[in-house]
């Protein structure tokens, strides 16, 4: 569905307004039901035993004592989750991550699980499980893991993407390369070259709601799962595959989700809960503790990145290259590849090359985290870009504007861009009052740009017109940021009725066709396309019913402002029929009225943002304070501007935490030392200023209203923007994230020592 320029002239009635979200009331009264807020009759409590070792062979598991404890109804190990993955390595990794098979591969790796009558009994039972481990040497650092002397996690992993195939297994699972042109020639033309190495530490999505589910496997082979997830259809698929079920026999209902940010796109505990329920013959509730969330669920990659950029005196970049090493945890993921694709996506480059290495380490399996892999690459690239601008003597904004990608630019990862927002966000940043705000002693200003692809994907939507003319919209993409509001607005817009008459729900997996999960900023983009299509299908039916009522050809019936209108002089006496009137008569004109849509939402418009921030650095302690922060981002078309602002602000805040505080700290024993919110410190209210936002609207050519995804890009620029601000405030170049006080202080001291 292409962009319809008529919408530019049209006055939207719903889209662009700011109504209150339909799920809001339940959320402010405590009635909204999240993963852990659901219970079933006869439900047991599940608990998981986790490896205390970073790397260990599991020689034997003795569950007999635990099984004998009164109140224990089931104990399972990997033997209860047999390998049905049939050579599918991605599914095997998920299975092995859910329950370790031959080896425990990280501190926190699940090795056994119990279901008992209450939590206390379950915890007691875990202590009675005896495991004979053979502790193996481990490696948790990404650079260390690449060394030839590093302990190898899997003897079966030989680096993919290199010719000839390596003769020895290693922790480098794959090499990927992107780019075009001739970088050697490009660097030869450069008057200035900046070359630097950067590191970023592993962070967690930090959703406040731990993973939680209730599983009920019946003896007839059917099962139900209540779960907090970003993609209940994907969870159904994965669980069914791992447990050997037909997908239609497993009904998955998504609860309200208490934050995901990419971390609730993979199954961890759900297959375990189903296996426990199957063995116990009763429903099982399984809720992770915060400790388990940190130790065993979705962190992002730790990275090590080398960047080299060259430019002429006039400020034109002549060549850019980067080598990106991303930790994946113990299983392959395309994390470095995403970093390699996004690293230079903001720029118009003749010669560019990026190489990514996927590195296996004894840490939890990496999961997506909001624009996964892009923030670290942007940190390295945008830091170097700032430094290069300084070497040339150019303003960092002007330097970026000169080199910004534009319509027709061949991106560093391949495709040629359509209309894009990088230039406009930079221009808006240059003109923003933030740029003129006064700075005091020890204060510095930084800015940076960011890019994210955005995804579309499989989407299915049902729109049902009630007998009273109100509309139910059933969608299959989980609402993570207000999409029930924005999709209701889109349905209202198409049908020409008031927002209040549309009620959107997220349907369970038995009530709607397959939907990809809410990731890649696709929720509002893809499901609004499906909603527009479903609404137009419903309008077709409504027109037919009006035509039937009037006994005139359907081609003579138009749909205007929520009414069927007979077109043509000859029908002058026919009063328009409202949606409500047509709905009321539906029983006599052919039955219920509905519109459905099933599609692959191609053409998610790429997204760009520019961030500006002011930071104060205390030179005596290395402590930082965020003074001002501004986000400028292209939304294509903001369906609900307040929620778009919320996405901008939330991503910026996560990026600020990542830049300044958050990191996984491992001891020499390979154990995570800060698996809690006290020691893994996410930003609190008193850490942040107000976060100013500016929404730009450069229409996406592949959406009738011009909508682009908005959820992820906001986390991409902050690491670099803050690093550049710290650099300007303290006079030192920070190359290691997070810029915690000890790191800043050490860098200042090293600089002073010369």
């Amino acid at each position: 569905m292409g962009f319809d320029p008529r919408y530019l002239e049209r006055n939207f009635t719903s889209v662009g307004t700011r109504p209150i979200r339909p799920d809001g009331l339940d959320k402010v009264t405590g009635r909204a039901r999240y993963g852990a807020d659901f219970n079933m009759a006869g439900q047991l409590v599940g608990a998981i035993l986790r490896s205390p070792h970073a790397h260990a062979k599991i020689r034997n598991i003795d569950t007999s004592k635990a099984e004998k404890l009164a109140g224990v109804k089931a104990v399972i190990t990997s033997a209860d989750l047999p390998d049905l993955t049939d050579g599918n390595s991605e599914m095997y990794a998920i299975l092995d991550n859910c329950m370790a098979r031959e080896k425990a591969l990280y501190d926190g790796h699940a090795v056994a699980a119990v279901a008992a009558v209450d939590a206390r009994t379950a915890r007691k039972a875990l202590k009675l499980i005896e495991i004979d481990y053979e502790v193996l040497p481990h490696v948790t650092d990404v650079d260390e893991a690449m060394k030839p002397t590093a302990p190898v996690l899997h003897e079966t992993v030989f680096t993919e993407g290199v010719e000839p195939k390596p003769g020895k297994p290693s922790n480098v699972a794959k090499r990927t390369q992107y780019g075009h042109g001739d970088i050697e020639a490009g660097f030869g033309q450069a008057d200035f070259i900046v070359e630097r190495s950067f590191k970023t530490e592993q962070t967690h999505q930090g959703y406040i709601e731990p993973h939680a589910c209730v599983a009920n496997a019946n003896s007839d082979g059917t099962a139900e799962l209540w779960v907090c997830t970003q993609g209940h259809f994907v969870y159904r698929q994965h669980c069914a595959e791992l447990l050997g079920m037909e997908v239609s026999k497993l009904r998955v209902t998504s609860s309200e989700i208490g934050g995901g940010f990419g971390g609730k796109t993979h199954v961890w505990a759900e297959p375990v809960a189903l296996a426990l329920s199957r063995k116990a013959g009763r429903p099982v509730k399984l809720v992770m503790t915060r400790d388990e969330v940190f130790r065993a669920s979705g962190p992002t990659s730790a990275t090590s990145i080398d960047v080299k950029i060259g430019a002429r005196k006039d400020g034109t970049i002549t060549a850019a290259s980067a080598t990106l090493r991303y930790s994946c945890g113990p299983y392959y993921g395309m994390w470095a590849e995403l970093g390699a694709m996004t690293a230079f996506a903001c720029y118009n480059l003749e010669n560019v090359e990026t190489v990514g290495y996927e590195v296996l380490v004894n840490r939890p399996k990496v999961a997506a985290y909001r624009a996964p892999s892009a923030p670290m690459a942007a940190f390295a690239v945008e830091s170097a870009v700032d430094e290069l601008a300084k070497s040339i003597g150019m303003d960092p904004v002007d330097f970026r504007i000169k080199n910004a990608a534009r319509e027709g630019t061949r991106s560093s990862y391949g495709p040629v861009y359509g209309p894009i927002g990088i230039g406009p966000t930079l221009e808006a940043a240059r003109n923003h009052p933030h740029m003129q705000a006064p700075l005091g002693k020890n204060q510095g200003r930084g800015m940076a740009c960011g890019f994210w692809f955005n995804f579309g994907g499989q989407t299915c939507t049902d729109l049902n017109v009630g007998t009273d003319g109100s509309v139910s919209l059933a969608v299959g993409t989980m609402d993570v940021g207000g999409s029930r509001a924005s999709l209701s607005m889109v349905a209202a817009e198409e049908l020409g009725i008031a927002y209040e008459h549309v009620k959107a729900v997220v349907a369970d997996t038995s009530s709607l066709g397959y939907n990809d999960m809410t990731d890649g900023s696709r929720g509002t983009f893809s499901t609004s396309l499906a909603t527009i299509s479903a609404a137009r299908n419903a309008i077709k039916v409504l027109r037919e019913r009006a035509a039937q009522t009037w006994d005139i050809p359907v081609d003579d019936v138009a749909w205007e402002k929520g009414h069927a209108v007979a077109k043509g002089e000859k029908y002058g006496n026919l009063p328009a029929l409202s949606l409500k009137e047509i709905a009321a008569g539906a029983g006599n004109t052919g039955g219920p009225i509905a519109g459905h849509s099933e599609l692959v939402a191609d053409g998610a418009g790429v997204s760009f943002a520019t961030h500006i921030c002011d930071i104060e650095v205390d030179p005596e302690t290395g402590a930082t304070r965020v003074l001002r922060y501004t986000v400028l981002q292209d939304a294509g078309k903001a369906v609900h501007p307040t929620y778009v602002e919320g996405q901008y602000q939330g991503g910026a805040a996560q990026g600020i935490g990542w830049a300044l505080n958050e990191e996984y700290i491992y001891g020499k024993d390979g154990r995570l030392q800060n698996a809690g919110f006290l020691d893994y410190r996410i930003p609190v209210c008193s850490d942040l200023p107000m976060i100013d936002t500016q929404i730009l609207e450069i229409p996406n050519p592949n959406h009738p209203y011009g909508v682009r995804g908005v959820g992820e890009t906001s986390i991409v620029p902050p690491l670099a923007a803050i690093a550049n601000a710290v650099s300007n405030a303290a006079g030192v170049r920070m190359t290691h994230i997070p810029m915690s006080p000890p790191r800043i202080l050490a860098t200042i001291k090293a600089e002073q020592a010369g």
Binding site: K27, R290, G646, V684
Partner: protein
């Protein structure tokens, strides 16, 4: 282990329950009394999602034993609205979109209510430090602070 019999007041109603001596008030509220508005985000008093008011004092209910509720007054999110009428903070959270996923919202509302009871006219800084015990990962706090500011001005005028 023998249960402890507890008589308490929750949101103005007399309530009696049996709990284990080591059971937290949060678990009692959620698992025994069906009051699931308070959430467990950490179980260690770091996230504030389980905030309640115990005898006029803001506490994390995950750090209070159920048995400690004996003879005391407990206020939870379920008691914040008066029937259909939302508390001004609830209304302003909706109007300002001060919530996205909403898991932290009950805790924030309780903490903000406690803050405004003690300081009806807080500065932005006082709001930020007053709510620093509650974690939100979605909003960046901007709209939460604005909602509390707006609610404070409405409540002062009332």
């Amino acid at each position: 282990m023998a249960g402890v019999a507890v008589s308490t007041t929750i949101n103005g109603d007399d309530v009696e329950f049996l709990c284990q001596p080591d059971e937290t008030l949060l678990d009692v509220l959620r698992d025994r009394l069906g009051l699931t508005g308070a959430k467990e985000g950490c179980g260690t008093g770091d996230c504030g999602a389980c905030s309640i008011i115990l005898d006029d004092r803001l506490v994390c209910s995950c750090l209070v034993l159920g048995a400690e509720a004996q003879g005391r007054r407990v206020e939870t999110i379920e008691g914040m609205a008066q029937g259909d009428k939302l508390h001004p903070l609830q209304q302003k959270f909706l109007e300002h979109a001060a919530l996205q996923c909403g898991i932290c919202t009950p805790g924030f509302l309780i903490a903000a209510k406690d803050l405004l009871a003690k300081n009806p006219d807080p500065t932005e800084e006082e709001i930020r430090f007053g709510l620093a015990g509650n974690l939100c990962r979605c909003t960046g706090y901007d709209k939460i602070v604005r909602a509390v500011q707006d609610a404070a001005s409405v409540m002062k005028g009332a």
